[in-house]
Amino acid sequence: MSDTVKTLSIDGQDVSAVENQTILDASREAGVEIPTLCHMDGLCDIGACRLCMVEVAGIPKLLPACVTKVAEGMEVTTDSPRLRGYRKTIVEFMLSERNHICSVCVSNGHCELQAMAQRLGVDHVHVPYRYPKLPVDASHERFVLDHNRCILCTRCVRACDEIEGAHTWDVMGRGIDAKVITDLNQPWGDSPTCTSCGKCVNVCPTGALFEKGRSVGEMIKRKSFLPYLTQMREGKK
């Protein structure tokens, strides 16, 4: 069965892509990197962080590259002063939303949010910090959840649901008060459904989920297992 090939242009470069491929996938194959945070290879895309928004000629709205399929003749711009400005503000929103203090964090130096801020040139936050009072759940035998560092990317929820199948994690509440929770908002250590597989810890982009016994800067996430598992599941080579 052959999928149709589509040709489109990304940042002025002519690219061929397979029908039903997303702009994000097509761009990456063409060597164009679009910033993402909620996207993770192997997990369903949800288009939540809005960092991957791109401009498409002829369409007044910006489109999220991770969930938008390529179309024949599309002219995509992945980088422009306007997009860069929005991306910086979105990262600043994340930094201001909760309490991200790199100097005392286990993921310092290995954090996707920190790396994104550096990459986009975020050297200060021009929206007021909110300083919410958020708890830390250290009840699990091997892992810790620190809500202060969570950016609600929901990778943990998706990994636990789609890969491990336990669905221990989900989100409670809504809006600015939303929080990730285990089971009926119980301490993680009391969870009857958690298999302690550690997948959520390793897909978490920040120091929100980490292994006990790590000190500052020592939490290095191991993501290499994820695409392998996905390939096993989908029978790809």
Binding site: C49, R50, I90, S96, V127, R174, G175, I176
Partner: protein, 549 residues
């Protein structure tokens, strides 16, 4: 808890040549004890032995809500307002003679005479709990015609010809949507009626559901036939229990009479309707969030494309339309697309129901042709601003809309004009404000609403509405600077451009429109430390000496 009001008990059969006292039994009038007034009327009829010539009937919304409970005596057409139980005797005795002057309302006043009723044509004139009343007004004739004499593409064409646009707020051409769903491939298709009316200040859909539920069912069934769907859902917000009750009743009646279920009107078309309850989430008025809710999940919107017309409920092609849109379908099928297109303006056809509320004399529901001016709605029909106050602004479109000042009073009300002026048609809420309203506080109120209703999925809306609200609270609290205003305008652009769904994308609209027309009020708060309307409680300004101390 008082028992459920009984619509029509002992005296319900209208005697030929006799009088019927119709009393509104929709939620608004019920909250003014209309059910007690109805009981009292029935007792008085019994007491005076007038049962052969006079009866009482519960009907739906008559529109002039602030004068509830509303009563109309047929066939004389005498109208009474603000009736209480103690008035029952006088009303009953007056049916054949002179009306009770102190209660009488002018049934020919502009509020009533200037309206053009299509959606509300049966409201207040039939008993919403009686199928026979609906049938007597050509009820289900359109459905019968559609399934026995027309083809599905023929029905879609008629809707296209009418030019009707979605009445939920976005104004997307309904015929186009139906055509897309009809052409989408899928073993199972769905029709969803969006009855989640979450805009604060809007109660048009509620009135239709409580006053004429069969109308909506007929519209949905015709839609099912046109697009090839066999299952319909009505997603009703939980805050409308009476609407849910009347709908359930209507569905049962329609099924028994062969207008829903299998073999509709004797054909092999089948269509079932089930009700699904909302649970207090404004975001579930957004179509993909609504679908998520029916699927039993949190009401989280999904990226579009794919659009529900292609992949909606359980990944099947789904048609979603608003209550008011469905309420227009049967008349369009009955009278033809050209008839509908002859009303309204070139790009905005038909009528629109508006919920007039706020600082206007006649609060209630009005249905007017598109293209009527704001001045006619607010002054001729609405009776102008009470208490000798001056008009300041009218807010349309709820939290996604804008505030329009005096200079737009002679603007024609249609989709394009409202958008050009910086607002939107929205679902039909029209809140009138006078000099006692602070426009900055109104913007803050709507931003607070968006902040608490945000689903939390995407960063721009979740955090952006919170940051924008904090700035607006600083302005109304008297501690903001001009830099805060610059930041506010910048964040409005970011949130508008980057949010995932309509809630976030339109959340800056009230701010943008008040900045456009009432910038002086923002300046007064920030620079002069004063709230011109006298609404905002500002912290007293500190002198430099106090700050330094």
């Amino acid at each position: 808890m008082r028992e459920e009001p009984v619509m029509n008990g002992a005296n319900s059969a209208a005697a030929p040549g006799g009088y019927t006292i119709d009393i509104c039994m929709a939620a608004g009038c019920l909250s003014c004890q209309a059910d007690l007034v109805k009981d009292a009327l029935e007792k008085e009829i019994s007491k005076h032995g007038l049962g052969d010539t006079c009866s009482v009937r519960g009907v739906g919304c008559l529109g002039l809500c602030m004068a509830g409970p509303l009563i109309v005596v047929e066939p004389t057409g005498v109208m009474y307002g603000s009736a209480v139980s103690a008035d029952a005797e006088a009303i009953v005795k007056s049916v054949s003679g002179a009306p009770v002057k102190r209660l009488e309302l002018n049934a020919q006043q502009p509020f009533f005479s200037r309206q053009v009723k299509i959606v509300l044509e049966n409201s207040g004139r039939i008993d919403p709990e009686k199928l026979e009343d609906y049938l007597a007004q050509d009820g289900y004739a359109a459905l019968s015609t559609a399934v026995t004499e027309m083809t599905p593409p023929g029905v879609v064409n008629r809707i296209l010809k009418s030019g009707i646009r979605g009445r939920g707020g976005a104004g997307y051409p309904t015929g186009l949507k139906w055509g897309t769903v009809a052409k989408s491939t899928g073993a199972q298709k769905y029709v969803i009626c969006n009855a989640d009316e979450g805009d604060p200040g809007a109660f048009m859909d509620r009135a239709v559901l409580e006053s004429d539920p069969h109308r909506v069912l007929e519209g949905m069934a015709i839609a099912g036939y046109a697009v090839g769907a066999s299952q319909g859902y009505i997603y009703v917000r939980a805050e409308y229990p009476l609407a849910v009750k009347r709908l359930k009743n209507a569905i049962r009646q329609a099924e028994r009479a062969g207008y829903l279920g299998s073999n509709i009107c004797g054909t092999d078309f089948r269509f079932n309707v089930d009700i699904r309850l909302g649970a207090g989430a404004f975001v579930c008025g957004e179509e993909t969030a609504l679908i998520s809710s029916i699927e039993g999940n949190r009401g989280i919107p999904r990226p579009r494309p794919p659009f529900p017309a292609a992949k909606g409920l359980w990944n099947s092609p789904t048609l979603i339309n608003n209550v008011e849109t469905f309420a227009n379908i049967a008349p369009i099928v009955r009278n033809g697309g050209e008839w509908f297109a002859s009303i309204g303006t070139e790009k905005s056809k038909g009528t629109k129901v508006f919920a007039l509320a706020g600082r206007v004399s006649n609060t209630g529901l009005v249905e007017v042709p598109m293209g009527i001016t704001l001045r006619e709605i607010l002054y001729d029909i609405g009776g102008g601003i009470p208490d000798g106050k001056k008009f300041k602004a009218v807010q349309t479109g709820g939290p996604s809309g804008g505030c329009l000042p005096e200079q737009f009073l002679d603007m024609a009300v249609d989709y394009e004009s409202l958008a050009k002026a910086g607002s939107i048609m929205g679902s039909g809420g029209m809140i009138v404000m006078d000099e006692t309203s602070c426009m900055v506080d109104v913007a803050r109120f709507f931003m607070e609403f968006c902040m608490t209703e945000s689903c939390g999925k995407c960063v721009p809306c979740r955090v952006g509405t919170c940051q924008m609200h904090d700035i607006l609270a600083k302005i109304t609290g008297g501690t903001a600077t001009m830099r805060d205003l610059d930041l506010l305008e910048e964040l409005c652009d970011t949130v508008k451009s980057c949010s995932l769904c309509g809630l976030g994308q339109t959340s800056p609209n009230p701010v943008l429109s008040t900045l456009r027309y009432f910038r002086d009020e923002y300046m007064a708060h920030i620079q002069d430390h004063v709230c011109p309307a006298g609404v905002c409680q500002m912290k007293p300004a500190r002198t430099l000496a106090e700050v330094a101390a």
